[in-house]
Amino acid sequence: MKIFNVKKEIIENKKVSSNCYRMTFESKEIACRVKPGQFLHIKCSDTYDPLLRRPISVHSIENNIIGILYKVIGRGTGLLSKKTSGDPIDVIGPLGNGFDYQLVSNCQLPILVGGGIGIAPLYFLAQRLVERGSNITVLIGASDKCNILCIDELKKLDCKVKVSTDDGSFGLRGTVIELLKKEISSTNSKLKLFVCGPVPMLKQVNQLVSKDNVSSQVSLERQMACGVGACMGCSIKIRNPKSEIRKNKMFDYKRVCKDGPVFDIKEVVWEDI
Protein backbone atom coordinates (compact mmCIF):
# COMPACT_ATOMS: atom_id res chain seq x y z
CA MET A 1 0.00 0.00 0.00
CA LYS A 2 1.26 3.39 -0.94
CA ILE A 3 2.05 5.80 1.90
CA PHE A 4 2.27 9.55 1.48
CA ASN A 5 4.13 12.30 3.26
CA VAL A 6 2.03 15.41 2.69
CA LYS A 7 2.45 18.99 3.82
CA LYS A 8 -0.93 20.70 3.99
CA GLU A 9 -2.64 23.75 5.36
CA ILE A 10 -4.85 23.30 8.38
CA ILE A 11 -8.45 24.15 7.56
CA GLU A 12 -9.72 24.19 11.13
CA ASN A 13 -8.42 23.33 14.60
CA LYS A 14 -11.19 23.63 17.14
CA LYS A 15 -11.55 22.86 20.81
CA VAL A 16 -14.40 20.38 21.29
CA SER A 17 -14.17 19.56 25.00
CA SER A 18 -12.10 20.62 27.99
CA ASN A 19 -8.96 18.99 26.55
CA CYS A 20 -9.80 17.66 23.08
CA TYR A 21 -9.45 19.26 19.67
CA ARG A 22 -10.69 18.47 16.20
CA MET A 23 -8.44 19.38 13.28
CA THR A 24 -9.14 19.17 9.56
CA PHE A 25 -7.03 19.43 6.42
CA GLU A 26 -7.42 18.35 2.85
CA SER A 27 -5.45 15.47 1.35
CA LYS A 28 -6.89 13.62 -1.60
CA GLU A 29 -3.98 11.13 -1.60
CA ILE A 30 -4.68 9.95 1.90
CA ALA A 31 -8.46 10.45 1.95
CA CYS A 32 -9.17 8.14 -0.96
CA ARG A 33 -7.10 5.31 0.48
CA VAL A 34 -7.49 5.42 4.24
CA LYS A 35 -9.61 2.82 6.06
CA PRO A 36 -11.16 3.12 9.52
CA GLY A 37 -8.61 2.23 12.20
CA GLN A 38 -5.65 3.39 10.17
CA PHE A 39 -3.61 6.28 11.52
CA LEU A 40 -1.42 9.21 10.58
CA HIS A 41 2.04 10.09 11.81
CA ILE A 42 2.07 13.80 12.53
CA LYS A 43 4.93 16.19 13.07
CA CYS A 44 3.94 18.47 15.93
CA SER A 45 6.96 20.78 15.90
CA ASP A 46 9.28 22.44 13.40
CA THR A 47 12.19 21.97 15.77
CA TYR A 48 13.61 18.82 17.36
CA ASP A 49 11.39 19.31 20.40
CA PRO A 50 9.59 16.98 20.48
CA LEU A 51 11.68 14.96 18.08
CA LEU A 52 9.39 12.13 17.08
CA ARG A 53 6.11 12.22 15.23
CA ARG A 54 2.85 11.45 17.02
CA PRO A 55 0.46 8.71 15.91
CA ILE A 56 -3.13 9.94 15.59
CA SER A 57 -6.07 8.02 14.09
CA VAL A 58 -8.16 9.26 11.24
CA HIS A 59 -11.41 10.43 12.79
CA SER A 60 -13.50 11.39 9.79
CA ILE A 61 -13.43 11.66 6.02
CA GLU A 62 -15.71 14.06 4.20
CA ASN A 63 -14.99 14.46 0.52
CA ASN A 64 -11.22 14.83 0.67
CA ILE A 65 -11.15 16.51 4.04
CA ILE A 66 -9.48 14.51 6.76
CA GLY A 67 -10.48 15.06 10.38
CA ILE A 68 -8.51 14.08 13.47
CA LEU A 69 -9.77 14.20 17.03
CA TYR A 70 -7.06 14.38 19.68
CA LYS A 71 -6.58 14.82 23.37
CA VAL A 72 -3.89 17.09 24.75
CA ILE A 73 -1.55 14.81 26.71
CA GLY A 74 1.89 16.34 26.64
CA ARG A 75 4.21 18.48 24.59
CA GLY A 76 3.40 17.06 21.14
CA THR A 77 -0.38 17.26 21.29
CA GLY A 78 -0.02 20.52 23.20
CA LEU A 79 1.82 22.12 20.30
CA LEU A 80 -0.67 20.64 17.87
CA SER A 81 -3.51 22.33 19.73
CA LYS A 82 -1.84 25.75 19.31
CA LYS A 83 -1.94 25.57 15.53
CA THR A 84 -4.58 27.55 13.68
CA SER A 85 -6.19 27.51 10.26
CA GLY A 86 -3.69 28.23 7.50
CA ASP A 87 -0.74 26.84 9.46
CA PRO A 88 1.18 24.05 7.70
CA ILE A 89 0.99 20.47 8.93
CA ASP A 90 3.33 17.59 7.99
CA VAL A 91 1.56 14.23 7.89
CA ILE A 92 2.49 10.68 6.90
CA GLY A 93 -0.24 8.18 6.09
CA PRO A 94 -2.28 6.14 5.79
CA LEU A 95 -0.47 3.80 8.19
CA GLY A 96 -1.25 0.43 9.75
CA ASN A 97 -4.08 -2.01 9.29
CA GLY A 98 -7.58 -0.87 10.12
CA PHE A 99 -10.74 -2.61 11.27
CA ASP A 100 -12.01 -5.60 9.31
CA TYR A 101 -15.47 -4.09 8.97
CA GLN A 102 -16.19 -5.48 5.55
CA LEU A 103 -16.57 -8.86 7.21
CA VAL A 104 -19.64 -7.82 9.17
CA SER A 105 -22.42 -10.07 7.92
CA ASN A 106 -26.16 -9.42 7.94
CA CYS A 107 -26.76 -11.59 10.95
CA GLN A 108 -24.15 -9.74 13.00
CA LEU A 109 -24.82 -6.60 14.98
CA PRO A 110 -21.84 -4.21 14.99
CA ILE A 111 -21.26 -2.54 18.34
CA LEU A 112 -18.66 0.20 18.60
CA VAL A 113 -17.20 0.63 22.09
CA GLY A 114 -15.20 3.77 22.76
CA GLY A 115 -13.61 4.83 26.01
CA GLY A 116 -12.62 8.50 26.25
CA ILE A 117 -10.63 9.64 23.22
CA GLY A 118 -10.95 6.04 21.95
CA ILE A 119 -14.06 7.20 20.14
CA ALA A 120 -11.78 9.03 17.64
CA PRO A 121 -11.23 6.20 15.11
CA LEU A 122 -14.68 4.70 15.79
CA TYR A 123 -16.54 7.67 14.32
CA PHE A 124 -14.82 7.08 10.96
CA LEU A 125 -15.73 3.39 11.24
CA ALA A 126 -19.34 4.38 11.96
CA GLN A 127 -19.34 6.55 8.83
CA ARG A 128 -18.28 3.61 6.70
CA LEU A 129 -20.58 1.07 8.34
CA VAL A 130 -23.57 3.35 7.91
CA GLU A 131 -22.68 3.84 4.23
CA ARG A 132 -22.82 0.06 3.91
CA GLY A 133 -26.27 0.04 5.44
CA SER A 134 -25.40 -1.46 8.81
CA ASN A 135 -27.52 -0.69 11.85
CA ILE A 136 -24.96 0.14 14.47
CA THR A 137 -24.88 0.83 18.16
CA VAL A 138 -22.18 3.01 19.67
CA LEU A 139 -21.33 2.80 23.35
CA ILE A 140 -19.50 5.84 24.66
CA GLY A 141 -17.77 6.01 28.01
CA ALA A 142 -16.67 9.38 29.35
CA SER A 143 -15.44 10.77 32.65
CA ASP A 144 -18.24 13.33 32.88
CA LYS A 145 -20.87 15.21 30.89
CA CYS A 146 -18.40 17.81 29.58
CA ASN A 147 -16.12 15.20 28.06
CA ILE A 148 -18.54 13.19 25.96
CA LEU A 149 -17.27 13.31 22.41
CA CYS A 150 -19.05 12.93 19.07
CA ILE A 151 -22.52 12.24 20.44
CA ASP A 152 -24.33 14.66 18.10
CA GLU A 153 -22.33 13.63 15.06
CA LEU A 154 -23.05 9.97 15.70
CA LYS A 155 -26.75 10.66 16.14
CA LYS A 156 -26.72 12.53 12.83
CA LEU A 157 -25.43 9.35 11.24
CA ASP A 158 -28.50 7.59 12.68
CA CYS A 159 -26.47 5.44 15.03
CA LYS A 160 -27.99 4.20 18.24
CA VAL A 161 -25.86 5.94 20.89
CA LYS A 162 -25.61 4.96 24.56
CA VAL A 163 -23.50 6.86 27.03
CA SER A 164 -22.03 6.19 30.44
CA THR A 165 -20.20 8.67 32.66
CA ASP A 166 -17.99 7.84 35.60
CA ASP A 167 -19.70 10.50 37.76
CA GLY A 168 -23.21 9.85 36.49
CA SER A 169 -23.63 13.39 35.14
CA PHE A 170 -25.02 11.95 31.89
CA GLY A 171 -26.38 8.57 30.86
CA LEU A 172 -25.60 5.53 32.91
CA ARG A 173 -23.42 5.99 35.99
CA GLY A 174 -20.40 3.74 35.62
CA THR A 175 -18.07 2.67 32.87
CA VAL A 176 -18.68 1.69 29.29
CA ILE A 177 -18.22 -1.91 30.43
CA GLU A 178 -21.57 -1.71 32.24
CA LEU A 179 -23.19 -0.59 28.97
CA LEU A 180 -21.52 -3.43 27.13
CA LYS A 181 -22.65 -6.02 29.68
CA LYS A 182 -26.25 -4.86 29.21
CA GLU A 183 -25.90 -4.96 25.45
CA ILE A 184 -24.53 -8.49 25.49
CA SER A 185 -27.27 -9.79 27.79
CA SER A 186 -30.19 -8.00 26.09
CA THR A 187 -29.59 -8.96 22.47
CA ASN A 188 -29.84 -12.38 21.00
CA SER A 189 -28.26 -11.60 17.64
CA LYS A 190 -24.56 -12.21 17.17
CA LEU A 191 -22.48 -9.22 18.20
CA LYS A 192 -19.35 -7.95 16.55
CA LEU A 193 -17.35 -5.51 18.66
CA PHE A 194 -14.99 -2.77 17.55
CA VAL A 195 -13.20 -1.39 20.57
CA CYS A 196 -10.82 1.48 21.30
CA GLY A 197 -9.93 2.95 24.65
CA PRO A 198 -7.50 2.81 27.56
CA VAL A 199 -5.77 -0.49 28.32
CA PRO A 200 -7.65 -1.28 31.60
CA MET A 201 -10.91 -0.94 29.68
CA LEU A 202 -9.66 -3.18 26.88
CA LYS A 203 -8.66 -5.80 29.43
CA GLN A 204 -12.15 -5.76 30.92
CA VAL A 205 -13.69 -6.11 27.49
CA ASN A 206 -11.42 -9.08 26.94
CA GLN A 207 -12.62 -10.74 30.15
CA LEU A 208 -16.23 -10.14 29.18
CA VAL A 209 -16.02 -11.45 25.66
CA SER A 210 -13.88 -14.46 26.44
CA LYS A 211 -16.81 -15.70 28.57
CA ASP A 212 -19.37 -14.93 25.91
CA ASN A 213 -17.22 -15.64 22.88
CA VAL A 214 -18.09 -12.43 21.06
CA SER A 215 -15.97 -11.59 18.03
CA SER A 216 -14.00 -8.43 18.86
CA GLN A 217 -11.39 -6.23 17.30
CA VAL A 218 -9.40 -3.78 19.40
CA SER A 219 -7.22 -0.86 18.47
CA LEU A 220 -4.02 -0.66 20.52
CA GLU A 221 -1.57 2.10 21.35
CA ARG A 222 2.18 1.95 21.71
CA GLN A 223 5.00 4.42 21.77
CA MET A 224 6.20 4.66 18.20
CA ALA A 225 9.35 5.89 16.51
CA CYS A 226 9.08 5.07 12.80
CA GLY A 227 5.38 4.25 12.48
CA VAL A 228 6.03 2.17 9.35
CA GLY A 229 7.37 -1.11 10.75
CA ALA A 230 11.11 -0.46 10.50
CA CYS A 231 12.35 0.05 14.06
CA MET A 232 10.58 -2.70 16.09
CA GLY A 233 9.91 -0.14 18.81
CA CYS A 234 6.18 -0.83 19.06
CA SER A 235 6.19 -4.64 19.09
CA ILE A 236 3.73 -6.47 21.33
CA LYS A 237 3.16 -10.14 22.07
CA ILE A 238 0.60 -11.87 19.90
CA ARG A 239 -0.49 -15.45 20.56
CA ASN A 240 0.69 -17.94 18.00
CA PRO A 241 0.79 -21.60 18.95
CA LYS A 242 2.98 -22.26 15.90
CA SER A 243 5.49 -19.52 16.62
CA GLU A 244 8.92 -20.25 15.22
CA ILE A 245 10.67 -18.34 17.94
CA ARG A 246 12.43 -20.94 20.00
CA LYS A 247 11.92 -21.26 23.76
CA ASN A 248 8.83 -19.04 23.57
CA LYS A 249 6.72 -21.19 21.39
CA MET A 250 3.41 -19.58 22.25
CA PHE A 251 3.74 -16.10 20.87
CA ASP A 252 5.25 -13.86 18.22
CA TYR A 253 6.09 -10.21 18.42
CA LYS A 254 3.99 -8.10 16.09
CA ARG A 255 4.31 -4.42 15.33
CA VAL A 256 1.41 -2.24 16.44
CA CYS A 257 2.22 0.30 13.71
CA LYS A 258 2.43 -2.08 10.78
CA ASP A 259 0.64 -5.32 11.74
CA GLY A 260 -1.91 -3.40 13.85
CA PRO A 261 -2.99 -1.11 15.45
CA VAL A 262 -6.15 -3.24 15.17
CA PHE A 263 -5.91 -6.82 16.43
CA ASP A 264 -8.35 -9.60 17.24
CA ILE A 265 -8.88 -9.40 20.99
CA LYS A 266 -8.08 -13.12 21.35
CA GLU A 267 -4.65 -12.76 19.76
CA VAL A 268 -3.30 -10.25 22.24
CA VAL A 269 -1.27 -11.45 25.23
CA TRP A 270 -3.05 -9.16 27.68
CA GLU A 271 -0.90 -10.03 30.70
CA ASP A 272 2.01 -8.27 29.00
CA ILE A 273 0.29 -5.13 27.78
Binding site: M1, K43, I92, R222, C231, M232
Partner: protein, 302 residues
Protein backbone atom coordinates in the same frame (compact mmCIF):
# COMPACT_ATOMS: atom_id res chain seq x y z
CA UNK B 1 26.62 23.09 -15.26
CA UNK B 2 29.62 21.09 -14.09
CA UNK B 3 29.17 17.38 -13.58
CA UNK B 4 29.27 16.60 -9.88
CA UNK B 5 30.54 13.24 -8.69
CA UNK B 6 29.34 11.96 -5.36
CA UNK B 7 30.91 8.52 -5.92
CA UNK B 8 32.75 6.82 -3.12
CA UNK B 9 34.37 3.42 -2.89
CA UNK B 10 34.52 2.07 0.62
CA UNK B 11 36.72 -0.98 0.81
CA UNK B 12 35.44 -2.17 -2.55
CA UNK B 13 31.81 -1.19 -1.97
CA UNK B 14 31.02 1.14 -4.85
CA UNK B 15 28.44 3.71 -3.88
CA UNK B 16 26.96 6.50 -6.00
CA UNK B 17 26.89 8.78 -2.98
CA UNK B 18 28.05 8.61 0.64
CA UNK B 19 24.56 8.26 2.17
CA UNK B 20 23.82 5.02 4.00
CA UNK B 21 20.93 3.96 6.22
CA UNK B 22 21.95 3.21 9.80
CA UNK B 23 21.26 -0.30 11.03
CA UNK B 24 18.01 -0.77 12.90
CA UNK B 25 16.40 2.40 11.68
CA UNK B 26 15.47 1.27 8.20
CA UNK B 27 14.29 -2.31 8.78
CA UNK B 28 15.24 -4.43 5.82
CA UNK B 29 14.79 -1.53 3.45
CA UNK B 30 11.30 -2.60 2.49
CA UNK B 31 9.19 -0.82 5.10
CA UNK B 32 10.04 2.62 3.73
CA UNK B 33 9.87 1.63 0.06
CA UNK B 34 6.23 2.77 -0.21
CA UNK B 35 7.22 6.24 0.87
CA UNK B 36 10.61 7.13 -0.62
CA UNK B 37 12.88 6.35 -3.53
CA UNK B 38 15.38 3.91 -2.05
CA UNK B 39 17.22 3.61 -5.38
CA UNK B 40 18.83 6.98 -4.68
CA UNK B 41 20.76 5.84 -1.62
CA UNK B 42 24.48 5.07 -1.59
CA UNK B 43 23.96 1.83 0.33
CA UNK B 44 21.52 0.15 2.68
CA UNK B 45 22.58 -1.36 5.98
CA UNK B 46 20.05 -3.84 7.32
CA UNK B 47 18.73 -4.14 10.84
CA UNK B 48 21.01 -6.47 12.80
CA UNK B 49 20.58 -10.11 11.87
CA UNK B 50 21.40 -12.93 14.28
CA UNK B 51 21.73 -16.63 13.56
CA UNK B 52 18.45 -17.51 15.26
CA UNK B 53 15.37 -15.27 15.44
CA UNK B 54 15.33 -12.97 18.46
CA UNK B 55 12.23 -11.66 20.20
CA UNK B 56 13.92 -8.61 21.66
CA UNK B 57 13.26 -6.82 24.93
CA UNK B 58 10.04 -6.14 26.85
CA UNK B 59 7.89 -3.02 26.32
CA UNK B 60 8.23 -0.08 26.49
CA UNK B 61 11.24 -0.06 24.22
CA UNK B 62 11.24 3.58 23.13
CA UNK B 63 11.39 6.78 25.09
CA UNK B 64 11.77 10.26 23.78
CA UNK B 65 14.25 12.55 25.55
CA UNK B 66 15.28 16.11 24.84
CA UNK B 67 17.15 16.12 21.53
CA UNK B 68 16.95 12.41 20.99
CA UNK B 69 15.50 9.07 21.92
CA UNK B 70 16.37 6.01 23.93
CA UNK B 71 15.73 2.56 22.54
CA UNK B 72 16.04 -0.90 23.98
CA UNK B 73 14.80 -2.96 21.06
CA UNK B 74 17.16 -5.82 21.90
CA UNK B 75 17.89 -6.87 18.33
CA UNK B 76 14.44 -8.24 17.54
CA UNK B 77 14.92 -9.90 14.16
CA UNK B 78 13.62 -12.88 12.21
CA UNK B 79 17.00 -14.62 11.97
CA UNK B 80 19.39 -15.44 9.14
CA UNK B 81 17.19 -17.92 7.33
CA UNK B 82 14.23 -15.57 6.92
CA UNK B 83 16.59 -12.75 5.92
CA UNK B 84 18.17 -14.81 3.15
CA UNK B 85 14.96 -16.35 1.88
CA UNK B 86 12.42 -13.55 2.27
CA UNK B 87 14.02 -10.15 2.77
CA UNK B 88 17.16 -10.17 0.65
CA UNK B 89 15.63 -11.09 -2.74
CA UNK B 90 13.24 -8.12 -2.53
CA UNK B 91 15.94 -5.78 -1.29
CA UNK B 92 18.23 -6.67 -4.18
CA UNK B 93 15.66 -5.39 -6.67
CA UNK B 94 16.60 -1.81 -5.77
CA UNK B 95 20.06 -2.20 -7.27
CA UNK B 96 21.67 -0.51 -4.26
CA UNK B 97 24.65 -2.10 -2.44
CA UNK B 98 23.37 -4.08 0.54
CA UNK B 99 25.41 -4.36 3.69
CA UNK B 100 24.17 -6.92 6.19
CA UNK B 101 24.65 -5.96 9.82
CA UNK B 102 25.27 -9.10 11.85
CA UNK B 103 25.62 -9.88 15.53
CA UNK B 104 25.92 -12.76 17.94
CA UNK B 105 26.41 -13.42 21.61
CA UNK B 106 29.47 -15.59 20.99
CA UNK B 107 32.40 -15.29 18.62
CA UNK B 108 31.36 -18.51 16.94
CA UNK B 109 27.99 -17.05 15.99
CA UNK B 110 29.62 -14.12 14.16
CA UNK B 111 31.86 -16.57 12.31
CA UNK B 112 29.00 -18.85 11.37
CA UNK B 113 26.90 -15.94 10.11
CA UNK B 114 29.75 -14.47 8.10
CA UNK B 115 30.27 -17.88 6.54
CA UNK B 116 26.55 -18.25 5.81
CA UNK B 117 26.43 -14.79 4.20
CA UNK B 118 29.46 -15.34 1.93
CA UNK B 119 27.84 -15.99 -1.41
CA UNK B 120 24.37 -14.53 -1.23
CA UNK B 121 24.99 -11.35 -3.15
CA UNK B 122 25.80 -8.91 -0.35
CA UNK B 123 28.14 -5.98 -0.91
CA UNK B 124 29.54 -6.06 2.59
CA UNK B 125 29.16 -7.04 6.22
CA UNK B 126 28.91 -4.75 9.21
CA UNK B 127 29.79 -6.42 12.50
CA UNK B 128 27.65 -5.09 15.30
CA UNK B 129 29.91 -5.71 18.26
CA UNK B 130 28.50 -2.71 20.04
CA UNK B 131 24.77 -3.03 20.69
CA UNK B 132 24.05 -1.82 24.23
CA UNK B 133 20.79 -3.74 24.43
CA UNK B 134 21.94 -7.33 24.58
CA UNK B 135 23.92 -8.98 27.29
CA UNK B 136 27.11 -9.95 25.52
CA UNK B 137 27.53 -8.16 22.21
CA UNK B 138 28.37 -4.81 23.80
CA UNK B 139 31.32 -6.27 25.57
CA UNK B 140 33.21 -7.22 22.42
CA UNK B 141 33.81 -3.64 21.41
CA UNK B 142 34.64 -2.51 24.91
CA UNK B 143 37.91 -4.40 24.87
CA UNK B 144 40.63 -4.01 22.24
CA UNK B 145 41.89 -7.54 22.53
CA UNK B 146 38.42 -9.12 22.19
CA UNK B 147 37.70 -6.88 19.23
CA UNK B 148 40.95 -7.86 17.53
CA UNK B 149 40.35 -11.59 18.02
CA UNK B 150 36.76 -11.47 16.84
CA UNK B 151 37.50 -9.47 13.71
CA UNK B 152 40.42 -11.72 12.85
CA UNK B 153 38.27 -14.85 13.09
CA UNK B 154 35.54 -13.38 10.92
CA UNK B 155 38.13 -12.10 8.46
CA UNK B 156 39.32 -15.65 7.88
CA UNK B 157 35.96 -16.90 6.66
CA UNK B 158 34.89 -14.07 4.34
CA UNK B 159 36.35 -11.95 1.60
CA UNK B 160 33.43 -9.53 1.71
CA UNK B 161 34.27 -5.98 2.76
CA UNK B 162 34.18 -6.02 6.55
CA UNK B 163 32.94 -2.98 8.43
CA UNK B 164 33.23 -3.02 12.21
CA UNK B 165 30.72 -0.93 14.15
CA UNK B 166 32.02 0.40 17.44
CA UNK B 167 30.43 1.59 20.64
CA UNK B 168 31.12 5.06 22.01
CA UNK B 169 30.84 3.64 25.53
CA UNK B 170 34.59 3.18 26.02
CA UNK B 171 37.51 5.10 27.48
CA UNK B 172 39.63 5.44 24.33
CA UNK B 173 37.83 4.76 21.06
CA UNK B 174 41.03 4.91 19.03
CA UNK B 175 42.45 1.82 20.74
CA UNK B 176 39.42 -0.23 19.76
CA UNK B 177 39.42 1.14 16.22
CA UNK B 178 43.10 0.24 15.84
CA UNK B 179 42.39 -3.26 17.13
CA UNK B 180 39.63 -3.69 14.54
CA UNK B 181 41.97 -2.50 11.80
CA UNK B 182 44.74 -4.83 12.95
CA UNK B 183 42.23 -7.69 12.99
CA UNK B 184 41.49 -7.12 9.33
CA UNK B 185 38.56 -4.68 9.21
CA UNK B 186 38.13 -2.79 5.93
CA UNK B 187 36.22 0.10 7.49
CA UNK B 188 34.99 1.38 10.85
CA UNK B 189 31.45 2.55 11.66
CA UNK B 190 31.08 5.16 14.38
CA UNK B 191 29.01 5.46 16.53
CA UNK B 192 26.48 3.05 17.88
CA UNK B 193 24.18 4.48 20.56
CA UNK B 194 25.35 5.93 23.87
CA UNK B 195 24.03 4.20 26.97
CA UNK B 196 21.40 6.26 28.77
CA UNK B 197 18.29 6.17 30.89
CA UNK B 198 15.15 8.14 31.73
CA UNK B 199 12.86 8.11 34.79
CA UNK B 200 9.14 8.69 35.27
CA UNK B 201 9.09 10.77 38.46
CA UNK B 202 5.42 9.98 39.16
CA UNK B 203 5.75 6.20 39.14
CA UNK B 204 9.40 6.50 40.25
CA UNK B 205 10.28 3.86 37.69
CA UNK B 206 12.57 3.82 34.67
CA UNK B 207 10.69 4.67 31.48
CA UNK B 208 12.24 1.75 29.57
CA UNK B 209 11.27 -1.75 30.65
CA UNK B 210 14.92 -2.70 30.24
CA UNK B 211 15.92 0.30 32.44
CA UNK B 212 18.82 1.40 30.23
CA UNK B 213 18.83 1.93 26.50
CA UNK B 214 20.73 3.45 23.58
CA UNK B 215 20.67 7.20 23.05
CA UNK B 216 20.52 8.44 19.46
CA UNK B 217 19.45 11.57 17.61
CA UNK B 218 20.70 15.19 17.47
CA UNK B 219 21.92 15.08 21.09
CA UNK B 220 24.71 12.58 20.30
CA UNK B 221 26.18 14.39 17.30
CA UNK B 222 29.02 16.24 19.05
CA UNK B 223 30.18 12.98 20.65
CA UNK B 224 30.02 11.11 17.34
CA UNK B 225 31.87 13.86 15.52
CA UNK B 226 34.64 13.92 18.12
CA UNK B 227 35.07 10.17 17.79
CA UNK B 228 35.23 10.30 13.99
CA UNK B 229 37.83 13.05 14.38
CA UNK B 230 39.97 10.98 16.73
CA UNK B 231 39.64 7.70 14.90
CA UNK B 232 40.13 8.93 11.35
CA UNK B 233 43.52 10.31 12.36
CA UNK B 234 44.58 6.98 13.86
CA UNK B 235 43.48 4.41 11.25
CA UNK B 236 44.23 4.02 7.55
CA UNK B 237 40.89 2.42 6.68
CA UNK B 238 37.80 4.51 5.91
CA UNK B 239 35.45 5.64 8.66
CA UNK B 240 31.67 5.73 8.24
CA UNK B 241 30.30 8.45 10.49
CA UNK B 242 26.88 8.43 12.16
CA UNK B 243 25.11 9.77 15.19
CA UNK B 244 22.59 12.59 15.13
CA UNK B 245 22.84 13.46 11.46
CA UNK B 246 19.62 15.30 10.63
CA UNK B 247 20.60 17.64 7.77
CA UNK B 248 23.13 17.94 4.95
CA UNK B 249 25.10 20.42 7.07
CA UNK B 250 25.48 17.72 9.73
CA UNK B 251 26.58 15.20 7.10
CA UNK B 252 29.14 17.63 5.67
CA UNK B 253 30.57 18.20 9.15
CA UNK B 254 31.28 14.47 9.37
CA UNK B 255 32.81 14.36 5.89
CA UNK B 256 35.06 17.35 6.61
CA UNK B 257 36.11 15.73 9.87
CA UNK B 258 37.28 12.59 8.09
CA UNK B 259 34.29 10.31 7.49
CA UNK B 260 34.23 8.82 3.99
CA UNK B 261 30.51 8.14 4.19
CA UNK B 262 27.69 8.85 6.63
CA UNK B 263 24.78 6.84 7.94
CA UNK B 264 21.39 8.27 8.81
CA UNK B 265 19.41 6.74 11.66
CA UNK B 266 16.90 8.47 13.92
CA UNK B 267 16.37 11.23 11.34
CA UNK B 268 14.54 8.71 9.14
CA UNK B 269 11.79 8.49 11.77
CA UNK B 270 11.36 12.23 11.92
CA UNK B 271 11.56 12.87 8.20
CA UNK B 272 11.67 9.79 5.97
CA UNK B 273 12.99 11.95 3.15
CA UNK B 274 16.14 12.91 5.09
CA UNK B 275 18.56 10.77 3.04
CA UNK B 276 17.34 12.22 -0.26
CA UNK B 277 17.44 15.77 1.12
CA UNK B 278 21.00 15.26 2.36
CA UNK B 279 22.13 14.05 -1.08
CA UNK B 280 20.71 17.23 -2.62
CA UNK B 281 22.21 19.37 0.14
CA UNK B 282 25.68 17.92 -0.44
CA UNK B 283 25.38 18.73 -4.14
CA UNK B 284 24.50 22.33 -3.34
CA UNK B 285 27.45 22.58 -0.96
CA UNK B 286 29.77 21.19 -3.63
CA UNK B 287 28.55 23.73 -6.18
CA UNK B 288 28.82 26.61 -3.73
CA UNK B 289 32.33 25.59 -2.65
CA UNK B 290 33.59 24.51 -6.06
CA UNK B 291 34.10 20.83 -5.31
CA UNK B 292 33.65 18.59 -8.36
CA UNK B 293 34.11 15.42 -6.38
CA UNK B 294 32.58 14.59 -3.03
CA UNK B 295 35.85 12.79 -2.30
CA UNK B 296 37.62 16.11 -2.12
CA UNK B 297 35.54 17.19 0.87
CA UNK B 298 36.64 14.27 3.01
CA UNK B 299 39.00 15.26 5.80
CA UNK B 300 39.27 18.90 4.73
CA UNK B 301 38.94 20.08 8.32
CA UNK B 302 41.44 22.89 8.91
Amino acid sequence: MRQLSLDINIAGIKMKNPIITASGTFGYGLEYSQLIDIKKFGAIVTKTITLEPRIGNPQPRIVEVVGGMLNSIGLQNPGAKVFIEEKLPKLKEYGVPIIANISGSKEAEFVKLADLFKDIGLSGLELNISCPNVEHAGLFAQDADTTYKLVRKVRKVTSLPLIVKLTPNVTDITLIARAAEDGGADAISLINTLIGMSIDIQTKRPKLANVIGGLSGPAVKPVALRMVYEVSKKVRIPVIGMGGIMTSDDAIEFLLTGASAVAIGTANFVNPNTCCEIIEGIKTYMRDNKFNRMLDIIGQLR
